[in-house]
């Protein structure tokens, strides 16, 4: 639980943070893996250069192990890096990360024996955009965010505000299906606080569903008018591991390289379909979008559709075949006519 690391007294931002027991344990284990040569690299989280941020740490240097942190701002899905890092890798994994790792193994992008999964329990990550809204201040003007299991204390400009944790966690965390990794080599034995709000988790999707098709079309047209085609959504997504992406293909050209809302939308629509069965609803695509397009409304909807149609949850079982490679005769009935 975060409770352990964020003591209620004293300033406890992620920058000046006491080393928690969890971190101690993690560093010890990660250090051992490097030292004994079990792995060539450790992938984890280090403090970021800005307030309330963390940054991926990819290292073969044992001295850097002491930079490893666990806090409510470790939002990157580190599984992304696995296919590109050579050798044996020890990776720190939250539940959702572990699902992406398993999915990559299912898709034969990485080999299970090359990965040492250091599982950590996760009670949810703090969505800074939500905190900013609640505090009425931008991230760097907020003094402190203290997560106390079901309550969060936000201090900004001398004002202290206490809100239920459900109001600051990422939407996808509010609907989390795996807080503690199922697939791991080492697990930090701590319980995770069960903080859920399924309604809020899919609020945006429900709102979109209430719209008429015309309204919905207008909504996405507007949204994708802002898209700058930076491909951060694709680049940050562990499920997007294709060597050649359809966007860059010119013969035939599936999507125009010219950024226009129609093509931006088609890009995202195709991407959403391509990651069906691989998407674990980690929410990274939406978090990284510099122009705030609510991309999870697409990916989560697809995630739910996959669940309904195929009774399949991505990355839950390392021995299960990947959805798109598993074909059962009965499936064709509904799909191909």
């Amino acid at each position: 639980m975060w409770l352990k690391m964020f003591e209620p007294s004293g300033p406890t931002t992620c920058l000046v943070m006491k080393v928690s027991d969890m971190e101690k344990e993690l560093r010890q284990e990660a250090g051992k893996l490097l030292e004994e040569g079990t792995v060539d690299y450790i992938i984890g989280f280090a403090p970021g250069s800005l307030k309330f941020t963390t940054t991926p740490l990819i290292t073969e240097d044992i001295d850097e192990i002491n930079n490893l942190v666990i806090n409510p701002f470790i939002n990157n899905n580190l599984a992304k890096y696995l296919p590109e890092i050579p050798g044996r890798v020890g990776i720190i994994a939250k539940g959702c990360d572990s699902r992406s790792i398993v999915s990559l193994i299912q898709d034969k992008q990485i080999a299970r024996q090359d990965i040492v999964i250091l599982g950590i329990p996760c009670s949810g990550l703090v969505d800074l955009k939500k905190v900013e809204k609640l505090a009425g201040k931008e991230r760097d003007k907020i003094d402190d965010i203290v997560v106390l299991a079901d309550k969060v204390c936000i201090t900004a400009g001398g004002e202290k505000k206490e809100v239920p944790t459900t109001e600051v966690l990422f939407d996808h965390c509010l609907g989390c299906e795996l807080q503690i990794p199922k697939e791991y080599d080492f697990l930090i034995q701590e319980p995770a606080a069960e903080i859920r709000d399924y309604e809020s988790s899919s609020k945006q999707i429900q709102e979109l569903k209430k719209m008429s098709p015309d309204q919905r079309w207008a909504f996405w047209k507007e949204q994708f008018g802002h898209c700058i085609r930076c491909y951060a959504c694709r680049q940050v997504c562990p499920a997007c591991f294709c060597e050649r992406c359809f966007v860059e293909e010119s013969q035939p050209r599936w999507v125009s390289p010219v950024s226009q809302w129609q093509d931006n939308l088609i890009f995202q629509a195709i991407r959403t379909i391509h990651v069906a069965g691989r998407c674990t609803d980690c929410g990274e695509c939406e978090r990284v979008c510099p122009v705030n397009i609510p991309l999870r409304s697409l990916s989560k909807e697809m995630y739910d559709l996959v669940g309904e149609m195929f009774d399949y949850k991505t990355g839950m079982d390392v021995n299960a075949p990947a959805l798109m490679t598993a074909y059962e005769l009965v499936e064709a009935e509904g799909l191909i006519r």
């Binding site: 930076c230 680049q235 010219v258």
Partner: protein
């Protein structure tokens, strides 16, 4: 030098006056992000606390995508047209860091061959700067020779001193904008003193600092230090955020589109972070991620100074605060083999 001033409540009126003559572009808030957009008499009181646009003002001259040539298939051949874009515009509220960036890419588009599309927009634009007294923790403009409250790269420079803006007239074009307005008053000594205080306080607020002196020389010496580049590029995910949203990144792509009988040649932003950027059919000189990361850093701090005598980074901090993985260019600069010190904004 500060000579004039205007009361904040007259600003909308002033913009309105200008808007009759030409289009006025101001920071505009939409779905939580601030972009430069045409002013439609909207409330702009958020300028008091707004910090900077997500998309830099370079987009006013080098849009994310634009038509270069349009064509139409006719029976007697192809009709080819170049769009005419010569309308006058005023960009109000550009920050000194972004104004410097515009001055930097001006050089690129004027160099050797004049770039019609950029120049035709640029030469019809007046820039009105707005001093910045509320930097992000990712901002480091004072390290890149930019003063957040001063700029020679604009036509007029506005500075917030409370209820009023004091104004510096930088160019004759800027001066002419003020001539016709009765809302413009002469700045008093007291105003100028107030401005001095604001200036000192604003500069003081910039805590993030990196020593950029000698960076070009250091980059030269560690250019082939592959270990360093591999290490600093490891967490980069090769997206286009840092380049697209960088006010000095100008790289572009040219592509055609044709639907039935109508088509156009477009240009749009491109990024050296993308593997496809330099990809040729048989090989790719920057296939590896570390080469692409090195290119970005070296272009800003080594190649640019070599070619045009100036660092192509103005410390706006967008690439740091918008990066999905918190890849921080100041850390990379500070960490270059050799000693350069960095102080974080914490």
């Amino acid at each position: 030098m500060i000579t004039k001033k205007i009361n904040k409540k007259d600003i909308r009126k002033l913009l309105g006056t200008w808007n009759q003559e030409c289009s006025v572009i101001v920071p505009t808030r939409e779905q939580g992000i601030v972009e430069m957009a045409g002013w439609d008499n909207k409330d702009i009181s958020f300028l008091d606390w707004y910090r900077n646009t997500v998309v830099p003002p370079k987009a006013c001259f080098l849009p994310q995508s634009e038509v270069m040539i349009s064509f139409q298939k006719k029976e007697n051949g192809l009709k080819i047209e170049v769009p005419q874009d010569e309308h006058k515009q005023i960009i109000f509220g550009i920050r000194p860091c972004d104004a410097r960036a515009v001055a930097i890419i001006d050089q690129v588009f004027a160099d050797t061959y004049d770039d019609y599309y950029y120049s035709s927009k640029r030469r019809n634009t007046l820039l009105i700067g707005l001093s910045c007294s509320n930097p992000y923790d990712s901002c480091f403009c004072t390290s890149t020779d930019v003063n957040p409250t001063e700029s020679e790269d604009v036509d007029l420079m506005f500075m917030d001193i409370g209820d009023e803006y004091v104004i510096e007239e930088i160019t004759s074009g800027g001066k002419a904008l003020l001539n016709t307005s009765s809302m413009i008053k002469k700045a008093t000594k007291a105003d100028i003193n107030k401005a001095k205080e604001v200036r000192a306080a604003s500069v003081d607020k910039l805590k993030k600092k990196v020593d950029t002196k000698d960076v070009d020389r250091k980059l030269q010496s560690c250019f082939n230090d592959i270990d360093y580049w591999e290490q600093v590029s490891a967490k980069c995910i090769s997206c286009g955020i840092c380049t697209f949203l960088c006010p000095t990144c100008f790289c572009f792509d040219i592509n055609d589109e044709m639907i039935k009988k109508h088509g156009a040649r477009y240009r749009g932003w491109d990024s050296c972070s993308f593997r496809s950027y330099t990809k040729m059919p048989m090989e790719n000189p920057r296939e590896e991620k570390w080469r692409r990361v090195r290119q970005r850093v070296c272009h800003k701090f080594e190649f640019y100074p070599m070619n045009l005598g100036i660092n192509a980074c103005t410390g706006c901090g967008r690439c740091i605060r918008l990066c999905p993985v918190n890849w921080d260019i100041t850390q990379v600069i500070a960490g270059l083999p050799g000693e350069i010190s960095v102080h974080s904004g914490k």
